[in-house]
């Protein structure tokens, strides 16, 4: 079997007394969409922070294409091809949508003209072309989520981390989001996504990893994890387990 794109081995991270991640290991194959699920506080966003280099794991290692990236910091991770969105949107509010996305495209295109062309391409791909010159401040919440996707895509990532980008959207908006994610994958980008809305998530992902209380509970096909008694217990409590 080919070498995995991302290889997480024994990653642990605590903040003060809180163990956000404990001994987490799994791999992600190039081209797949992996769902990272688990109740609130399970440690999903923390793991994203470790993968994207925003925090350094206390233990364990994270490899991208065989090279250790954990501890290199967010800038190096972005340069090596990891793009991300944030659970709480972080748009550059004094800049227009186009300018936001250009910050991303400048990573691989130093020239303003090329960076702009690249950004416009990505914005069109994300279905935001009509909004390119709107200040980020004035975008609607679903548009801001798309802005984050577009901005990350503009860095031309190999691996994209999406943190709850469909949460809080109407069913129609969520469906549009699903279509976008599929299109991103079709471009050859590998995706890890965190999402709570199971009806939307399960048909979309190839595989799921379940976290609970900072630990990996199980992994497998979407169908197999939702039938796993441990997963049901984690989400719903003991009384629902047959």
């Amino acid at each position: 079997m080919a070498e995995p794109l991302l290889d997480i081995r024994g990653v642990s991270k605590s903040f003060g007394g809180v163990a956000a991640n404990v001994d987490i290991s799994f791999t992600v194959t190039a081209g797949e969409i992996l769902g990272l699920i688990g109740p609130n506080g399970a440690g999903k966003s923390s793991l994203f922070n470790s993968i994207a280099g925003e925090v350094k794991p206390d233990q364990g290692s994270i490899r991208l294409d065989g090279t250790v990236i954990s501890g290199l910091g967010p800038v190096a991770c972005a340069a090596r091809g990891i793009g991300r969105t944030f659970q709480v949107v972080r748009s550059f509010d004094s800049m227009t949508l186009l300018e936001n996305v250009m910050v991303g495209s400048f990573l691989r295109h130093r020239n303003t003209g090329t960076a702009m062309a690249k950004a416009l391409d990505v914005i069109g791909f994300c279905g935001l072309a009509a909004r390119a010159d709107v200040p980020a401040h004035d975008l609607t919440p679903p548009e801001k989520r798309r802005l984050e996707v577009a901005r990350a895509l503009a860095t031309e990532p190999r691996l994209l981390l999406l943190d709850e980008i469909l949460t809080g959207l109407t069913p129609t908006e969520a469906q549009a989001g699903v279509d976008l994610i599929r299109a991103v994958r079709a471009r050859g980008v590998t995706i890890i996504m965190v999402e709570h809305v199971m009806e939307v998530l399960l048909p979309l992902i190839d595989r799921a990893v379940v976290l609970n209380l900072g630990r990996k509970l199980c992994e497998g096909t979407p169908q197999s994890v939702v039938r796993n008694p441990d997963v049901i217990r984690a989400y719903l409590g003991d009384r629902f387990v047959a």
């Binding site: 944030f86 748009s91 991303g104 303003t112 416009l120 010159d133």
Partner: protein
């Protein structure tokens, strides 16, 4: 549709150049039309502060690092070119580059410890570094200590920036300075750096995730900003012919360097110029008319104007023209 968007940024930048060129022509003609030395002198100051504040704006406006210590770079520029001139006979037209280089280098030195700080911690640290400069110069006999340095008149010369009747030539010297500062700002605003600075100002964590190296970005802004300020200091020294610590290193100067950008519109290309055109005349005229014996009223007007403008036009006067500035807010980022 995508073509239209590309058009917007590019046309905006082209328009800026055109307006800038038109304004430049107008300002070249203006001093000839105003024969009074008083108004010509006012124009010198407006252009000086427009340039200085344009420099401050690179760091404080685009990059969101609110410096209250820019007098340090100004003073270094003023003293460097003055000392080179009075001690070594090196003409100020060369000395101003040395002053700019030293201003930029000092900004890097201050930035190195201070850029780890956020918001108000940063503002106060820069304020203290400015005062350290003031205190050292005040006590350094070799540079004239508290008495300062008077620049002797040697000969009428553009190379030495000395003129028997100084006002008109300095209208043009300062115009060149303000225009160059504006051009630098225009160039960086459209460059990768300019985008990175605004991104860092709005959200440094998001910037990092896109591969923006935050600290080097701030340092680049500091170097450019300090250098522009240093050059302004050198020109000021030649214009006035006398420098002393409070007039070149004082805290109120640091504030005055920042104010035109703040009043005109932080993080905008035209803000510093507009702010200087409003603020400096108000300040100078009220000093002339109301300072001195009946002292105090000038400061009340100046302070009151700052206060009221900051409250009613937080985006700056430029917003009256429908131009949006950098509305991000680095100061209260992490409370």
């Amino acid at each position: 549709m995508t073509g239209a968007a590309a058009h917007t940024i590019e046309t905006r930048r082209r328009t800026q150049l055109l307006v800038g060129a038109g304004l430049l022509v107008g300002l070249i003609i203006l001093p000839v039309l105003i024969p009074s030395p008083y108004w010509r002198g006012l124009m010198v100051l407006v252009l000086l502060y427009a340039g200085l504040s344009q420099g401050w704006n690179v760091l404080g406006g685009y990059c969101g690092q609110i410096s209250l210590g820019h007098a340090l770079y100004f003073g270094l520029g003023a003293y460097t070119s003055t000392l080179l001139f009075t001690r070594l006979g090196i003409p100020p037209t060369i000395g101003l580059f040395a002053g700019g280089a030293l201003g930029g280098a000092a900004a890097l030195l201050v930035g190195w410890p201070c850029f780890r700080l956020s918001g108000h911690y940063y503002a106060i640290a820069t304020l203290v570094f400015g005062l350290i400069g003031l205190l050292l110069v005040e006590n350094w006999d070799w540079v004239g200590a508290a008495e300062g340095i008077t620049i002797p008149f040697r000969q009428q010369s553009w190379i030495d920036l000395q003129f028997r009747i100084a006002v008109l030539p300095f209208d043009y010297a300062m115009l060149a300075y303000a225009a160059l500062a504006w051009l630098v700002a225009w160039l960086v605003e459209g460059s990768r750096w300019g985008f990175y600075w605004r991104a860092v100002k709005d959200d440094s964590i998001a910037s990092r995730s896109l591969g923006v190296r935050v600290f080097p970005s701030k340092m680049a802004a500091a170097a450019i900003s300090g250098a522009i300020t240093g050059v302004g200091g050198a020109l000021y020294a030649q214009y006035i012919g006398f420098i002393d610590p409070p007039s070149t290193f004082g805290l109120s100067l640091s504030v005055l360097i920042a104010l035109p950008a703040v009043v005109g519109g932080v993080g905008t290309l035209w803000g510093p110029l507009l702010g200087a055109a409003v603020l400096i005349p108000v300040q100078q005229i009220s000093i002339a008319k109301l300072g001195g014996a009946a002292g105090g009223v000038d400061l009340m007007i100046y302070g009151g104007l700052i206060l009221v403008l900051a409250l009613v036009r937080p985006q700056g006067l430029i917003s009256l023209f429908g131009i949006r500035g950098a509305a991000g807010d680095a100061v209260v980022e992490n409370g």
